[in-house]
Symmetry: C2
Amino acid sequence: MNKTEPKTLSGFMELMPSEQLVFDNIKNTIIETYRSYGFYPLDTPVIEYSEVLLAKAGGETEKQIYRFNKGDNDLSLRFDLTVPLAKYVAKRYNELTFPFKRYQTGKVFRGERPQKGRFREFYQCDIDIIGDEELSLKYDSEIIAIINDIFTKLNLGKFVVRINNRKVLSGFFESLGLTDKITDILRIVDKLDKIGESEVKEILKDYNISENDVNKIIEFITMKGSTKEKLNNLRNYNCNELFMRGVSELESVIEDLENRNINPENYMIDLTIARGLDYYTGTVYETILTEYPGIGSVCSGGRYENLAEYYTDKKLPGVGVSIGLTRLFYQLVEAGIVTVENTTPSEVIILPMSENYKYIYEVNNILRNKGIKTDICYIEKGFKQKMKYANKMGNKYVIIIGDDEVNNNTVALKNMQSGEQEIIELDNLNKVDFN
Amino acid sequence: MNKTEPKTLSGFMELMPSEQLVFDNIKNTIIETYRSYGFYPLDTPVIEYSEVLLAKAGGETEKQIYRFNKGDNDLSLRFDLTVPLAKYVAKRYNELTFPFKRYQTGKVFRGERPQKGRFREFYQCDIDIIGDEELSLKYDSEIIAIINDIFTKLNLGKFVVRINNRKVLSGFFESLGLTDKITDILRIVDKLDKIGESEVKEILKDYNISENDVNKIIEFITMKGSTKEKLNNLRNYNCNELFMRGVSELESVIEDLENRNINPENYMIDLTIARGLDYYTGTVYETILTEYPGIGSVCSGGRYENLAEYYTDKKLPGVGVSIGLTRLFYQLVEAGIVTVENTTPSEVIILPMSENYKYIYEVNNILRNKGIKTDICYIEKGFKQKMKYANKMGNKYVIIIGDDEVNNNTVALKNMQSGEQEIIELDNLNKVDFN
């Protein structure tokens, strides 16, 4: 028979089992944290009408989208989880309770030119709160509390959520008489971390902004000092009403984080954070792993005025963040922050060296009832081969059950790391700590 | 601005938040059980090369597949999780440890004619064990143990795993001299539950099988008796070598289930189970919710000789089952087995009636540290509006914190079901049982 080559498309992540285990553990930590704050899960189709997904889009999105016809329908694969959320909320407006708190994790698709660390199919882990007409600023800080929880649990070293407010930036640029250039400036300034100060200055000048104004902009956004000092400093700028509203919002968010007793090392005001999208209108965030700044933001988002304006007249403000998990995972492995060795899907593996399976399953049930993930090696080969399998699986604990163990109501417990083996009475198996 | 209608494609499940919560809880129970047996997670791309996905396929599959071009590539969306598994194992053969135990849950796509309860995008929850050249029969019964665990935990009432063996059926049909018609007979016999005995008889006769043989087939497959009686009965048939190998396999599986101490009401030998696919070669299973037989099998699968013959010469036998979760969920809701009312993503909701958020977050942290999913209502309105929100969310427990509570170091705890409200000292909040 002719064989087909079993190949996978480039730009599509397909992990080895032990890598997938680590990936899923990270995903589960994110989801469990989202859930613990009382958010609903949401699951929208991968395929939507092209006209629905592209109601707003243009430019890059249209070029990258996977679009095709099936029957009479013009269909596309979702390229993010925000547009489907907007569709969902507009469609279900009358049935939903607001504020509507939802998370969604799922694959999205963008036919980008494949390059190292870029994927055409990737997971987004999104969380958003949508209000009807209005939405308390407390939700802006709740999002930071959630990020703080997630990255504390993920244990990837120090991290910091960099917080800014679009109104502060826009108000400041307005005060320089640059109102018509705000969108461009925000986009350029957002690249400061990547391309550096002098490059940003050059590009700003290309937009016909005077050297004087360029210097003021750079001086402003690179403001130094503690959170308290920055807030005082901002109050003193007092550019205009929009600016001061932004400062008040920023103050509220910071005050709320203090009330929440969040480690102050885990967040800061950073006026360089602009976020490229014109979508954001208030609080904006990025999250940096302090020891690996080269990875860039691992979790970004912010406050927007109007989630679903392409579908409905209702004003639906929201706030949220997104974790691009596929890219993040790739980077964590590349940087050696996450290792996939010695990961195993079970905590204990039983090697049966007796035919008394009634006894073997009794042992298995004791462990399972204790909540221990237990594997049994059923390969019909000798001890050496079974031990080889256990070694490959990488379990720390191996339980060997031969006829002696059956007759004596015991098991042989081997710690594969220390090499030590001990005989445990069945009655005491319950008390063993498999850590 | 012109608005786009926020519509969802027909045949694509998109649930309300409270429904999604129940759906996810079922999915999580399935995944946690899979994991507890030491299976690796696997995640393969939604999009693959068409030639890879269609290496075997033909007929219905080709017609239903979502297929399109992007750049120079002929691409398709996966229509099941078995073909991607075959591709994966063939591709990674040298890196994997066998037996390879993996589960995969994910969406698959089939452009079927939409009809009630049929979906074009649906979740499959698959679990398989793949051997290299050989695979112990113990894995056939491990799969049943897993099904037993899942449906016990899901608490959908009584269920029964119906077990058969293809070798028994094929051996029997061979003994009647019907070797060349086995595939047809298996396919027809598999419909017995749906179309009834007399219809099956008629169709078999259309295939030029004598009335005498048809009667023998029906008599055989509808064999009555206990598991023990059926096995004895089968031994006495002693048709031929293939048949007796099937009987031995069936006996081994049953014996192993007894050793595992699985409730004997949860499984039975049922010789009518054939499974339509020509793929299966040994043990086959279906699972029926006893009180809702109309739903049909909720979990099916079996043993196959060769997972990946379209990609590799390696002989890779396997055994597995699949739960079609989207369809199952739809049916559970339709039949009223699962209700989505009174589901809420948090266990407790806090209504702040004081501006002392430091205190409010202290309460929140006590609950969160106890592992209680806690929501806080931040809507900036009066008590009535906040209570209305809590009511809509459907939480059983509401915690109200006003200035009195802050001053007295207490919270007001209201049980929304009984209407009772009591004052709890902060020091005692830890001890409250929120069930």
